[in-house]
């Protein structure tokens, strides 16, 4: 369905009042979110706030069909579309813990999503994530790779696909500091080449690459704005949840992340 008439032409992704029920819990509660073309949007929030559930819902993963709300991509309602159909419209996802593929060489894996596969593009994608093409094109995308290598290859696969919107679910988790710098560089590069990025992260410093940001808490977006505004909102409005005090680090003690901090009065943690 073409909804161009009621859409802002400057919006690539619009999430409208999305509710998601998972076994035992309502994990998304009326999420609203917009991402514009060539924009990097950081989605922040603590563990369990619903970020990954939102990512899977946007991609149309099995078991993540919203019970209410709409997902509009480039003016088209994609709420009922399959993963494949969404991907063919230019939407893709880098999973937080990427899957392994026994027997599938990296070069073949990267080529799968390319519009015009070529050796040159495979090598360029690997170089974009600071992996040596010579060392990796023949490597199998299996569990013999380290977590950091697998993350980089996943990002290379997303980059190689030249998506219109890449959802990157915590690309910075489980990787070393040098890798984080490479990831930030890749995100900037993707945006400079015209792609939008929805960056899901815990890290404040990762939000520096973003143009806009949202804070999720208790299954909904509680604030949106510039990354600085969102961090300011967090600093002023969010308090450690009483049940978690004394058991988990938070705020500055957690290295400036939002872990174990909830928005007072908005969610129950």
């Amino acid at each position: 369905m073409d909804l161009g008439g009621e859409m802002d032409n400057d919006v690539l992704l619009r999430v409208e009042d999305v509710w998601l029920q998972r076994p035992g819990a309502e994990v998304l509660r009326g999420v609203n979110l917009t991402v514009r073309p060539a924009e990097v949007h950081a989605l922040l929030g603590l563990n369990g706030s619903g970020k990954t559930s939102l990512a899977l819902t946007l991609m149309g993963a099995s078991g993540y069909q919203p019970r209410r709300g709409r997902i509009i991509f480039d003016g088209q309602d994609i709420t009922a579309l399959s993963v494949t159909e969404r991907a063919r419209l230019g939407l893709t996802l880098a999973w937080q813990q990427p899957a392994c593929f026994e027997g599938l060489p990296t070069a073949d894996y990267l080529a799968l999503g390319m519009k015009q596969p070529s050796r040159e593009r495979v090598e360029a994608a690997l170089a974009a994530v600071a992996l040596s093409p010579a060392a990796y094109v023949g490597r199998t995308v299996n569990s013999a790779l380290s977590g950091g290598e697998r993350k980089r290859i996943e990002l290379a696969a997303v980059y190689a696909m030249q998506p219109r919107l890449a959802i990157l679910d915590e690309p910075d988790s489980g990787v070393d500091v040098l890798c984080i710098e490479d990831i930030m560089a890749l995100i900037r590069r993707m945006a400079s080449e015209g792609a939008s990025v929805l960056l899901i992260t815990h890290r404040d410093e990762m939000a520096e690459v973003a143009d806009t940001a949202s804070l999720m808490c208790g299954g909904t977006v509680v604030h949106a704005g510039t990354p600085a505004e969102v961090r300011g909102y967090f600093a002023q409005r969010c308090r450690p949840h009483g049940d978690l005090l004394g058991s988990q680090p938070w705020g500055a003690e957690a290295g400036g992340t939002y872990q174990r901090v909830v928005a007072e009065g908005v969610c129950d943690g």
Partner: protein, 332 residues
């Protein structure tokens, strides 16, 4: 056993035989290529090889240190392959077995004798491209001498009809410090009815790795039975089975590993993917007769991993193509 030994096969081999032989040779080579083989290797003097169609030994090529003797039977061939002690065979020995007709029986009785310290690889392709009512029996005896290494890879192609029964049986002995790697693959075309039986005894510090891969569809039946006896100190063994079945196909994997000596280490690894009305079964048996031996197993049977599937779909592949890539990757 009488012997039937042919000398080197020149590049112009096709011009030196009668037209009927040439037609048979060309047909089996074409089928060999369908099974994944490279026909040029069978025409190269530097590569030891044997080409057997039905009960006809069409060609044998020998290289230094490798001898192949063959005798024709009513429905097949007896083949004895020896590698002299200390020989390092540069190129894998190429073996081509098969039948072009739609019906019949082929029996291959083979003996492999790998001399002390020798190193050799084998690339075998068994092809039955037109099988409607065929039976292929393979009975192999393998002896890997002390410190020797044998790598044997066998690929099958049974055509699209599935009218074939394939019964490969192997008894192997790996002497001290020896190494045997065996891989069986049947992942293109129909399987038909396949029953692999493999038994191996491994002496001290010997190593055995058995890999079996098969992709069944329609009413195919796959049965893999393997027994690895780690009899010597420090002997090691691995069985790795990968099977995918769809439609109404059946896959059954029975593996036994025995740790019978100090330091013996064995592992059995089985993954089976099931789709449609297909059925997969895995029965691992672990036997340990020494308190310093260790044998483990892992098995995973189920449908295609959902995240793997959706990851590929998120790159734009439709579900059927994504499943195919995952299954073929597993079977690669």
């Amino acid at each position: 056993m009488g012997s039937h030994s042919l000398s080197r096969v020149p590049a112009s081999i096709l011009q030196q035989r009668d037209p009927a032989w040439a037609r048979e040779f060309e047909a089996i080579l074409e089928a060999y290529e369908q099974a994944g083989g490279k026909p040029d290797a069978l025409r190269t003097p530097r590569v030891a090889s044997a080409v057997i169609s039905g009960n006809q030994v069409l060609a044998v090529n020998l290289v230094e240190g490798v001898n192949i003797e063959a005798q024709q039977l009513e429905h097949g061939v007896i083949a004895r392959i020896t590698v002299a002690p200390g020989t390092k065979v540069e190129y894998p020995v190429h073996l081509c077995f098969g039948m072009i007709p739609t019906e019949g029986l082929q029996e291959i009785f083979s003996e492999f004798e790998i001399g002390q310290g020798a190193e050799v690889g084998f690339l075998a392709h068994c092809t039955f491209p037109n099988a409607v009512d065929l039976k292929h029996v393979m009975d192999a005896r393998i002896h890997v001498g002390p410190g020797a290494t044998m790598r044997y890879s066998e690929g099958h192609y049974h055509g699209p009809l599935g009218g074939i029964v394939v019964l490969p049986t192997t008894h192997a002995q790996v002497d001290g410090g020896g190494r045997l790697e065996s891989e069986f693959s049947l992942v293109h075309g129909r399987v038909g009815h396949l029953e692999i039986q493999f038994e191996v005894d491994v002496a001290a510090w010997g190593v055995v790795e058995l890999v079996a891969k098969a992709y069944g569809s329609a009413d195919d039946k796959i049965k893999v039975s393997e027994v690895v006896r780690l009899d010597g100190e420090g002997a090691r063994g691995l069985t790795k089975t990968r099977a995918a079945v769809r439609d109404r196909a059946i896959s059954e994997v029975y593996t036994t590993a025995e740790g019978n000596a100090p330091g013996a280490v064995g592992h059995m690894d089985c993954t089976e993917i099931v789709r449609g009305e297909a059925v997969a079964r895995n029965v691992p048996v672990v036997v340990v007769r020494d308190d310093q031996a260790r044998v483990t197993h892992e098995a995973a049977i189920g449908s295609v991993n959902r995240q793997e599937l959706e990851t590929l779909m998120a790159r734009g592949l439709d579900e059927a193509d994504a499943v195919d890539i995952i299954v073929r990757g597993m079977l690669r």
